[in-house]
């Protein structure tokens, strides 16, 4: 099978898709009026739907990957892991059945109540707790990071201190100037240096986008074939 089909055609497809999306951005105003604008809008929307549809298809890669790894653990009885893997596969199947609403024909009638129960007391509880465990990690990170080792680290410590105090209700009551200093730092040092980083990052993304459409960012297809 010649190189044309394996590498060049996909790169050409990426280029065409990219050019259409760019044209849609530059030609179609908020309320398309001209016929060419309306068709361009339609083409752009259809392709975006196609991309989302294809992205939904790729979920299967994940399912295969997880089923493969964990069923191998179960079949090989990997010590200290196989029963966790069995439990994972079991829970995944339960969630799929509950999620799809069950099949009355197969005698599985599952109401929305079970789905809400699973999402509230298992999914939401785990997500909320994992998210809140950041309180542990930010505390130990602060304890370690705010140390006056070098001049730079001392500056970091002082700014961190002022910001911490400006957010502590008790200090705000006694030392309101702390809030003004913190706001000044935020307005004139944080917003400015973050803008510098943002501009740099944007240039990086723009050039990467151009390279990808020109087929020069071969990372996504593998360098040589």
């Amino acid at each position: 099978m010649s190189l044309a089909y394996r590498r060049h055609l996909p790169i050409i497809i990426t280029f065409i898709m990219g050019i259409i999306m760019i044209l849609q951005y530059f030609i179609v105003p908020k309320q398309p009026v001209e016929p060419y604008q309306i068709t361009m809008q339609k083409v752009g929307e259809t392709l975006t739907n196609w991309a989302n549809l294809l992205a939904a298809f790729t979920i299967g890669f994940g399912m295969v990957n997880i089923a493969l790894i964990h069923s191998r653990h179960v079949s090989r009885k990997t010590p200290g892991q196989w029963y966790y893997s069995a439990w994972l596969l079991f829970v995944a199947v339960i969630m799929v059945i509950v999620g799809i609403g069950g099949e009355p024909a197969l005698g599985i009638n599952v109401s929305k109540y079970q789905y809400d129960w699973m999402t509230t007391y298992v999914f939401a509880a785990l997500s909320g707790t994992m998210y809140s465990s950041l309180a542990f990690y930010i505390t130990s990170a602060c304890y370690r990071a705010f140390r006056a080792r070098t001049i730079e680290a001392t500056a970091l410590l002082i700014v961190g201190f002022i910001t911490l105090m400006s957010r502590t209700p008790a200090f705000q009551a006694y030392l309101p100037q702390v809030i003004e200093v913190a706001d000044w730092i935020n307005k004139y040092i944080v917003k400015s240096s973050f803008r510098g980083i943002l501009i740099g990052g944007a240039l990086g993304a723009i050039l990467l986008g151009i390279r990808t459409l020109m087929g020069m960012e071969t990372g996504y297809l593998g360098r040589r074939d």
């Binding site: 298809f57 890669f61 829970v91 994992m130 602060c142 501009i199 986008g209």
Partner: protein
């Protein structure tokens, strides 16, 4: 009937909460159990979302008479040829559409929102203000934007040697101070999250008096 389910739900949620927090101390079987439960539920959840995604983005359009949608559906199945020994490259057509649409739709917007608009905002600063702290602030602002950008210049090494290096160092200093502020600023929001979980454990699970 609902009460038993709710009460049992609260107990399940409480045990999972303690399991996740226990990892902060040590990795242990209870956390490993919670982790595998979480991944299992999440896999089932995203599988259902994927099926809904294929339905809403694809099948619905097809049934609504937009015949062209058969193309992405075919390409979608073709992507599973990547497991095939020789025809593995067939997956690339689907991926090339995802990448072409995804990358272009994103980077073209960066030109305005994160490049031109940011320069325009900087160029629009009226430095001299009535309040001296604001005037000083604007001077610091301009210096910080300029030196941070200067720090990121890669292909002119001479700009980072000798006396010119001080400009790059200034950029690094501004970023360091900004990181210190942003780091400390999140402490409140993270503690607020943990307070929410502790309130659940103390008042809904242990039923302590409010």
């Amino acid at each position: 009937m609902a009460d038993i389910w709710t009460e049992c739900g609260i107990w399940v949620a409480a045990i999972l909460t303690i399991a996740v927090y226990s990892f902060a101390y040590r990795d242990n079987p209870l956390f490993k159990f919670a982790e595998h439960t979480f991944v299992g539920v999440a896999v089932g959840y995203s599988f259902v979302q994927a099926i809904r995604g294929v339905k809403t983005f694809g099948i619905d359009h097809l049934t609504a008479g937009e015949a062209l949608y058969i193309i992405p559906i075919i390409l979608g199945f073709l992507m599973y040829f990547r497991y095939h020994k020789t025809l593995y490259w067939l997956y690339r057509y689907g991926i090339s559409i995802i990448v072409g649409v995804g990358i272009a739709a994103s980077f073209v917007r960066d030109i305005e929102t994160s490049f031109l608009a940011q320069i325009a905002a900087t160029a629009g600063i009226n430095i001299i203000k009535a309040d001296p702290a604001a005037t000083l602030g604007n001077i610091v602002f301009l210096a910080a934007v300029a030196t941070t950008l200067y720090y990121f210049i890669f292909t002119f090494p001479m700009l980072h040697t000798g006396r010119a290096k001080t400009l790059a160092d200034a950029g690094r200093w501004f970023m360091m101070l900004a990181f210190g502020y942003a780091f400390a600023k999140t402490v409140v929001t993270r503690y607020n999250l943990m307070l929410g979980r502790l309130e659940f454990l103390l008042f809904e699970w242990l039923k302590l008096p409010k």
